[in-house]
Symmetry: none
Subunit: 148 residues, 2 copies
Amino acid sequence: MRRHVLLYGLLAGVLIAALRLIEYRWLVLEHSVEIYGGLVAAVFATLGIWLGLRLTRHTETVVVREVEVPAPVNFVRDQSKVDSLGITPRELEVLELIAAGLSNKEIAERVYVSENTVKTHSSRVFDKLGARRRTQAVQLGKELRLIP
Amino acid sequence: MRRHVLLYGLLAGVLIAALRLIEYRWLVLEHSVEIYGGLVAAVFATLGIWLGLRLTRHTETVVVREVEVPAPVNFVRDQSKVDSLGITPRELEVLELIAAGLSNKEIAERVYVSENTVKTHSSRVFDKLGARRRTQAVQLGKELRLIP
DNA sequence: CCCAAAATCATCCATTCGGATGACGCGCGT
DNA sequence: ACGCGCGTCATCCGAATGGATGATTTTGGG
């Protein structure tokens, strides 16, 4: 912006100087003043238009149109509930895998522990959640914002 | 647009005429030509800028910014998937209750049928979904927008 | 009315899950 | 060093679940 104004002023100065230099050489006609004025008018009008266009070229009007997007809802774990329920990271991990539909055996293979260990974790987390089935645990886990 | 150009030309003509009328009356100074030129330059530059602004005033760039709205649970069942998978209403109902964390026995009591019937429905829906466990069926059901 | 789809119920059997319980090792803080 | 929380693994057993299959009844549309 400031650069534009400076450039504009500079061009104007050069032009005026140029006109002063040449006005006595070949503008010695009858209506030299009119021609001179017309020239100046045309040039400055052009420059003005250019400047005006320049000034507004990038002023986009941002129209915010709210669109209902399926919204994957950036999940944030309710750590306070995790803490208050005393659920350990490993238990939470197992709960997530249960929610993903994996069997105990698949979970065991996934996290490199025995199936018995997975059973222990799941039993503990069921107990802490007050769930009697894994589907219920999943439901409660989602409701309590422990898992996405 | 065309109106702007016409108006611009008209103003220019009037201005030039006015200048011609007054130039011999009180612009009889030493540097009258420079003053005259500067005046014309300033006026036409102003007009040019104004015109330039005019020309681009209404060229708004519409930027659609998708805003993630809290997305209330405006759940809409994907009936096309239900149909394409050939899932019956009863099967869908059972799937929902499974997702709610109920056992087969509880579902049976809830919908007044025998546990065997619930087992049949669940088995069929598992088969249609390609699920091997109820947790997996729930996961798939949610993913396919069959259940909330 | 008739038929196909849907819903219902059942039995048998294998697998999975859940509950209860005990044990061992590791890291951490007192 | 000791206790504690956490993670690990195990065994036993009953309940729940899943798979396969067959049968009967209800229902909705042509």
